[in-house]
């Protein structure tokens, strides 16, 4: 393949049918500039950081000094700046436009949060400093814990889980520890609805449980008869998402809680969709025993291209003693942190252990608390209501041209299936890719699995009515174009994106997971 000076192909491998494609000499597309890998600049002796010269005194490395080149280039500051700014322009972001990702909750990320998280008193303190020197940090963690326990009406919260899935692990480990404390080694079966996130079954297995799926009923909720039939003295508990991933509130949740408790099991609630009910419904009132809260979803900490998240986990009285170390506590005067299991036992607890080196993602705690205080109890309730209203507005506006998966209203996300695309030759994937050309990030596709060709749209509360109207107009027009037989518009999409459709099969069949100098990588040069 012909390559230009920046190591990118200078000619397409094959001509694309869309007709919209125009070749360039540089590999750039106007302001969308081609950007090589840092390794292709070959500046292996350069650096963008000025450091004083080492003295060259003798070392105490015991002969373990590295020899040979690392093979890592250094870019000067302006080169690095351009590299990353150019790359950033190849990303979609919530600050650019609507991210209608169901179950992922892409809402506005206030910059006040970023500013406060960067106060030196928060960002420049060490997790093992003497307790007396970090009283404000402990106070902040304690304050956030108070908000989370109040909003959920639960008596305990573990702050250390690093992400939602880590919080699930925290909750399920507490359940396992409670069962072990009861001496019930037979209880190893966890009930998980079909519509659950993939993290739920994966988490259950990591706690030594087996997974038993519960089907959904025709309305998209837990099939109560199937659920009841699965109860027994080997059931450890249930993992339920509420509102669920079909965008519906599980009406029978009180009965589910009562039945699982009567059967001797515990109730884990996946809190991924807490943002739909925060300030209006307290999960503790629904009978849950544990629930993680994705701070990035409900309380607006930014997604950052895939993390970091933060997943504090709240507990009922029954599970509270098993919460992991460390945790903060106060005697009303000052704060301290309980870091060891024996200290916690002396405190009346029986922790299942420690999940992580330090005490969680403090940087996310500051952002979440800033968001909570900015909204207040009244604003959080309003935010949940607006999220639900926005989703229902989309459902109402689009139900004539797209096919809602279920009848009636929804919670904070609207679920459609692919029946409206039947016989058009356009798949859910194609439809999603066509949205890119219209300036939108695609919605969540093919999830939940219980719905064929699912399209799950979550607008969140931070979208305006005018913005939602434009979005609905676009989706209506796309749906009509698909039905009118404009298939190529979809199957060729995206055309107006930094990259055309990428070959994911090739990437998986012959994996290239790092850059290597050309002579060593026949597969990279093919």
């Amino acid at each position: 393949m012909a390559m230009n000076s920046q190591g990118r192909p200078s000619k397409p491998l094959h001509t694309f049918d869309a007709g919209a494609y125009t070749d360039t000499f540089s590999g750039s597309r106007g302001l969308d500039q081609a950007e090589p890998l840092i390794f292709e600049r070959g500046r292996f002796d350069n650096t963008g950081v000025d450091l004083p010269e080492p003295k060259g005194t003798k070392t105490r490395l015991d002969g373990l000094e590295r020899s040979g080149e690392l093979g890592l280039p250094g870019l000067s500051e302006p080169e690095a700046m351009r590299h990353y700014v150019r790359l950033s322009r190849k990303n979609y972001a919530i600050d650019l436009g609507l991210y209608p990702l169901g179950s992922c909750t892409m809402k506005h990320n206030p910059r006040l949060n970023e500013k406060l998280a960067r106060l030196p008193g928060f960002i420049d303190i060490h997790p093992l400093q003497p307790h007396s020197t970090v009283q404000g940090a402990y106070e902040l963690i304690g304050e956030l814990a108070h908000w989370l326990m109040t909003l959920t009406n639960t008596p305990a919260v573990a702050m250390s889980p690093k992400a939602g899935a880590h919080g699930e692990l925290c909750g399920m480990m507490a359940i396992r520890a409670a069962l072990d404390a009861r001496g019930e080694k037979n209880r190893r079966r966890v009930l998980v609805p079909e519509s659950a996130h993939g993290t739920n079954p994966a988490t259950a297995v990591q706690c030594g449980f087996t997974v038993d799926e519960i089907p959904a009923d025709e309305g998209g909720r837990v099939d109560m008869e199937a659920f009841k039939a699965k109860l027994g003295d080997d059931v450890a508990g249930i993992m339920l998402t509420n509102p669920n991933t079909c965008g519906l509130f599980e009406r029978d949740i009180r009965e589910i809680a009562d039945l699982i408790h009567e059967a001797g099991g515990y109730f884990y609630c996946d809190g991924a969709n807490f943002n739909a009910i925060v300030g209006r419904v307290r999960p503790g009132d629904l009978g849950i025993d544990a629930m993680h809260i994705n701070l990035h979803k409900t309380f607006s900490t930014p997604h950052g291209g895939g993390g970091p998240g933060s997943g504090p986990t709240v507990f009922s009285e029954a599970l509270a003693p098993y919460a992991p170390v460390p945790y903060v506590k106060t005697d009303g005067e000052g704060w301290t942190m309980v870091e060891h299991e024996d200290e916690a036992r002396a405190d009346g607890g029986d922790p299942f252990g420690r999940m992580v080196a330090f005490h969680g993602n403090m940087g996310m705690f500051t952002r979440a608390l800033s968001y909570m205080m900015s909204h207040g109890s009244d604003g959080l309730k309003q935010a949940a209501e607006d999220a639900v209203l926005n989703a229902n507005y989309i459902l109402a506006r689009l139900k004539q041209v797209m096919t809602p998966a279920f009848e009636g209203t929804c919670m904070h996300e609207a679920l459609f299936d692919d029946r409206f695309l039947k016989d058009t030759g356009v798949s859910t994937l194609d439809f999603a890719k066509a949205m890119i050309d219209e300036g939108y990030h695609p919605m969540t596709m093919y999830f939940p699995l219980v719905v064929h060709g699912a399209m799950l749209i979550e607008p969140t509360e931070t979208e305006s009515k005018a913005g939602l109207d434009r979005f609905c107009d676009t989706l209506e027009a796309l749906a009509e174009a698909a039905k009118a037989g404009e298939t190529e518009r979809f199957t060729n999409a995206p055309v107006h994106a930094p990259a055309k459709r990428l070959d994911e099969t090739k990437a998986a069949r012959s994996p290239v997971l790092r850059w290597t100098p050309a002579e060593d990588t026949p597969q990279a040069a093919e």
Binding site: G48, P54, L70, M106, G136, G305, M355, F358
Partner: protein, 449 residues
């Protein structure tokens, strides 16, 4: 409310379109008994200025690392981060983007992850790296699970000098999977007898270098012994800057290398978010069993190079209860910060930075161990070493803090009181320490002892 765009008129018009009379109708599925009548008992909304005031008040109660001579390490290190790093990670397109599941409009994130993987592979001396984990301790725990999947064995031998929090996180993750973790307890200044603990059931040996006390270890003998028994070696580090100066664990025979990347780009942040680094051998069986995300190279429909998340059939969203881990989020933004800092340094800058760190630690170790009654426990070290004090280290640290010196981590803070390490103080020095910091530490310690 400043973050909510809907006006009362909008809400009314939208309810009309939906065909309901009030917002209550949309919450009709919530059981009567669970509906809140009034607001929860929390403060009402606050203005931007009010929130800032509340945060500033709490932040002022903390003594930040920049305000005092600072020598605290043991898993998190204070380094200077170039201003460019924080500027770039705050660009909207990085900060507010989602996991790159739609590769056509996520090439920025994907290419940086590919570069990150390449950098991590080069530093660790192993050819395959993933696109980051939560932090070093969870990487360590996941590596043990991975080794058990690969070897189909269920015993992990942990060095007693592995950071106790890493050992605890590993034990927690392993115990419900019926994986036994074996450890002999701390041996400051030495390598414990790991070889004698390896048997035919051993899936892996986990050894940290530099270890929690700062001691460096040659892994070649342990690698050879482990491999002879069919066990894997997992090498752990908590100070990534060390890899700019010392031999890489991959070069010494480690099969999986995991560690904490916090030192580059990320900052102290009171314990998180950090960035877990994870690398392994280029072996199909290893890659298939690796946790977390991978970015891979491919081409688009025009034949142009592009990047995608790949080999996701290992992951929870595809494999559900058969997945290699339940990890969904990685530490994307911190990985970006790490890779930007690493790109600015390059190999020339990193090796210089590493040398500066080592020289600072050598000088400080010499000065402090010259004080009467103070003994240097660690024979070889990178930028962190351990002192045996004539009295309890926890009390000394508190006394030094009262004198305005943040002196290090008493080993008892990590292991608990009365575990035989009460007189040990773990001290870290970096390029951020000035001669005046050294003077202050030495003077204050002399006064106390």
């Amino acid at each position: 409310m400043r973050y909510l765009p809907l006006t009362p008129d909008d809400r009314k018009a939208m309810l009309d379109t939906v065909g309901v009379s009030s917002i209550e109708d949309l919450f009709a599925d919530v059981p009567e008994a669970a509906r809140l009548d009034g607001p929860v008992n929390l403060p009402r909304r606050a203005t931007e200025l009010e929130v800032e005031r509340a945060f500033t008040r709490m932040a002022k109660k903390n003594l930040s690392a920049g305000e005092a001579p600072f020598f605290v390490g043991a898993g998190a290190y204070k380094h200077h981060v170039p201003a460019t790093v924080d500027h770039l990670i705050q660009r909207s397109e990085f900060l507010t983007s989602y996991t790159p599941y739609q590769p056509e409009i996520s090439q920025g994130t994907l290419q940086t992850l590919f570069e990150f993987q390449t950098q991590v592979a080069a530093l660790t001396g192993l050819p395959v790296a993933n696109a980051s984990m939560y932090d070093g301790s969870t990487s360590c725990a996941e590596a043990v699970l991975m080794a058990c999947r690969i070897t189909k064995r269920s015993k992990a031998v942990l060095s007693g000098n592995l950071h106790p929090h890493y050992a605890a996180a590993t034990h927690t993750l392993a115990k419900y999977m019926d994986i036994e973790t074996v450890s002999q307890g701390a041996k400051p200044g030495a390598l414990d007898d790991l070889i004698g603990s390896i048997d035919d059931d051993t899936a892996c040996v986990v050894v940290q270098t530099p270890d929690v006390f700062g001691q460096l270890h040659d892994l070649e003998a342990i690698s050879k012994a482990a491999h002879e028994k069919g066990a894997l070696v997992i090498a752990v580090f908590t100070e990534v800057v060390s890899l700019g100066l010392v031999k890489s664990p991959g070069e010494m025979g480690a099969d999986i290398v995991v560690g904490e990347g916090q030192s580059l780009g990320v900052g102290l942040q009171f314990g998180g978010p950090y960035v877990g680094l994870f690398a392994c051998r280029d072996d199909r069986n290893f890659i298939r069993n690796m946790p977390g995300r991978l970015a891979g190279e491919t081409v688009d429909a025009d034949g142009r190079r592009g990047f995608v998340l790949t080999l996701s059939t290992r992951e929870q969203h595809i494999r559900r209860d058969k997945a290699t881990s339940n990890i969904c989020t990685n530490s994307g933004l911190m990985a970006l910060a790490w890779t930007i800092h690493m790109t600015l340094l390059g190999q020339a800058g990193l090796s210089k930075l590493a040398r500066l760190n080592h020289e600072a630690a050598c000088e400080l170790a010499d000065r402090l161990s010259a004080i009467g009654g103070v003994e240097l426990v660690t024979g070889s070290f990178f930028n962190e070493f351990t002192l045996r004090l004539p009295t309890g280290a926890a009390k000394v640290v508190d006394q030094l803090a009262a004198k305005g010196v943040l002196a290090g981590v008493p080993a008892s803070r990590l292991y608990g009181e009365g575990k035989g390490v009460d007189d040990l103080l773990i001290v870290a020095a970096t390029e951020t320490n000035t001669p005046a910091d050294f003077d202050a530490f030495e003077t204050a310690l002399k006064e106390i002892l």
